[in-house]
């Protein structure tokens, strides 16, 4: 799978409370969650994400709460992939389970600038910066995780598995 798009860049330790504030946790509809994505971090996020679909961030992205709403709100707001130096473990799982591709790549995370256009090849493990032609290699996710992402998330994946 290839994903192409422009980048929104953030820093280190972007936590689940700024991605999806606790005051909205009673919401169970993904479309409604999306309206509050990144609300306490970046008031312009919903405007930016209309044009730019890939987040590039620093270390420990998604640290904090186990709230899956953090991954859900980003996905339903239109984010198509997240590249970071590292992810907090529960967010890492939640993103996969929402079918949202996430990539750990330190060099790409440092180099790629806000607004640049990139292309990610998930199968080959390559990120191309289309603005300056620079390429970055990353270790592709294991096959069974790619299967979950390709199915559109764990819910679809388990439905297939149980109905097989």
């Amino acid at each position: 799978m290839k994903i192409r798009g422009k980048v929104i860049k953030y820093g280190d330790d972007i936590n689940t409370d700024v991605i999806f504030p606790g005051r909205y946790l009673a919401i169970t509809e993904p479309e409604e969650m999306a309206k509050h994505a990144m609300e306490d971090l970046d008031k312009d996020f919903l405007e930016k994400v209309k044009e730019r679909k890939i987040i590039v961030a620093g270390k420990n992205f998604g640290c904090g709460s186990s709230r899956e709403q953090a991954a859900m709100c980003l996905k339903y707001a239109g984010v198509e992939a997240i590249i970071a130096k590292s992810f907090a473990r529960i967010f890492f799982r939640n993103a996969i389970n929402q079918g949202l591709p996430i990539i750990e790549c330190k060099e790409a995370s440092s180099d790629i600038e806000d607004g640049e256009e990139i292309e990610i090849d998930l199968d080959k493990g390559v990120i191309k910066n289309l603005s300056n032609k620079k390429e970055y290699a990353f270790k592709p996710l294991p096959d069974f995780i790619q299967e979950i992402i390709n199915a559109g998330g764990l819910l679809n994946h388990i439905r297939k598995r149980l109905n097989r």
Partner: protein
């Protein structure tokens, strides 16, 4: 090569002789815990399309995050959970007022050493204090656990953390774990398990061990395990059913790293806005004015926490203009605190007592902060906007530091207030 506690528990749970760090296993879950987010879990569960949950006796649900409901949406969510548990025969349900999940689950006897426990809450690591492998997962995964009882897990590497030294008076487990998080960083244990050893940990009460296993999540820990001893067994004996079979690591187990901490000279610690690893000794932040002081949470709302605060507040008044909010972590703790007179001390000091639950910790209700306001709190997170307005600030500290600061209206070293 021997195995760590995590490796042994995950080997047993996945039906294998042995597993090693880095291996991915499909494990059978022993206990699945959810709180108010069971509303989202049950909604996803219904979308999977299976009728029955895998084992209703292995599912436990506690309402604590918005308890009692603060908005109609929360009330509807609670209602949907009450309907769901009836439909699916889930009897292990604790409604509004019983307490915070991480206190109620061990208190009611669901936790035993060696168990594999997952919960839809990051601080599920708390049960590591009893020698369980216990970790947080998301709602979709929990729905799948409810359907199948299984979950994929990567066997984590383990950090062996040895903590030695006799703590000074008014310096507690909270100060120790904040200090450690300050040292190793907010991702210092990401993807990893921790095993706690050393004389300080041995001397800790079960409550204090719960504090470190809970707060260790803020260094990213996947599990934070204290090997069981007599104290563990004494706490569990009258609460659990069946045998208690502790799991210990082998002498030649493979640790990712070993860290040693000497805490004998440690002064009270404070985690400053807006990250939990922004930790400073209290002497560096003394004098910062506060609007609110919060005593409670799954980290520090237990009897010993209320006890030390009551000792400090006895016969004193909290500073004019400061709101102090006290939240006993469970009904059991609330009743005991009443009996011992702590609640009366808090009320006479001018504090507000909130029913057992998460209270304002996650910024949902019961004491959220306005813009420009500042709180000192015994809770576990100080992220921007965590307790209310994105323009407010949260300083994390021990119950002793919270209580002393409430009296002075500014952050203060509790050793000075008592001494």
């Amino acid at each position: 090569m021997g195995m760590t506690i995590s490796e042994k528990i995950l080997a047993r749970a996945s039906g294998k002789e042995r597993v090693e760090a880095g291996e991915i296993v499909e494990a059978n879950v022993d206990l699945a815990m959810s709180h108010d987010n069971a509303a989202l879990v049950s909604k996803i569960f219904k979308e999977i399309g299976v009728d029955k949950v895998w084992d209703p006796d292995k599912i436990v649900i506690i309402l604590d995050h918005r308890a009692p409901a603060n908005i109609i949406k929360a009330a509807e969510a609670h209602k949907s959970i009450r309907e769901f548990i009836k439909e699916r025969g889930i009897k292990n349900f604790y409604d509004v007022g019983e307490g915070i999940c991480h206190q109620v689950v061990p208190e009611k006897g669901y936790v035993k050493p060696g168990m594999l426990i997952v919960g839809t809450d990051s601080h599920t690591t708390t049960y590591g204090a009893f020698g369980a492998f216990s970790t947080g997962i998301g709602a979709t995964e929990m729905a799948c656990v409810w359907a199948t009882g299984k979950l994929w897990l990567k066997v984590p590497e383990t950090i062996k953390m040895v903590i030695n030294g006799k703590l000074q008076e008014m310096v507690t487990a909270k100060d120790v774990i904040l200090h450690i998080i300050g040292e190793i960083g907010s991702d210092g244990a990401n993807y990893k398990a921790i095993e706690f050893y050393g004389e300080t940990v041995k001397n800790f009460s079960v409550s204090s061990r719960m504090t470190i296993s809970n707060q260790a999540m803020e260094a990213g820990a996947k599990a934070a395990i204290v090997p069981p001893d007599e104290k563990t067994i004494n706490y569990l004996r009258d609460r659990v059913r069946g045998e208690i079979e502790p799991v210990y690591s082998d002498g030649d187990a493979n640790y990712e790293s070993e860290m040693e901490f000497d805490v004998s000279d440690l002064e009270p610690q404070v985690a400053c806005p807006h990250t939990v690893d922004n930790v400073k000794p209290v002497s560096e932040v003394e004098g910062i004015e506060i609007d609110q002081a919060v005593l409670g949470s799954c980290t520090n709302g237990r009897l010993e926490d209320l006890e030390i605060a009551a000792k400090i507040l006895k016969g004193k008044r909290i500073a004019p203009g400061v709101r102090m909010i006290v939240i006993p972590a469970s009904r059991e703790i609330y009743l005991e605190a009443l009996k011992r007179g702590y609640i009366e001390i808090f009320l006479r000091a001018g504090a507000t007592i909130i029913n057992p639950g998460c209270g304002p910790c996650l910024g949902a209700h019961q004491g959220v902060l306005a813009s420009g306001e500042r709180a000192i709190s015994s809770t576990n997170r100080n992220f921007r906007g965590r307790m209310g307005s994105p323009d407010s600030e949260v300083y994390l500290a021990s119950p002793a530091t919270v209580a002393a600061s409430a009296i002075e209206g500014k952050i203060v070293d509790p050793r000075r207030v008592v001494g």
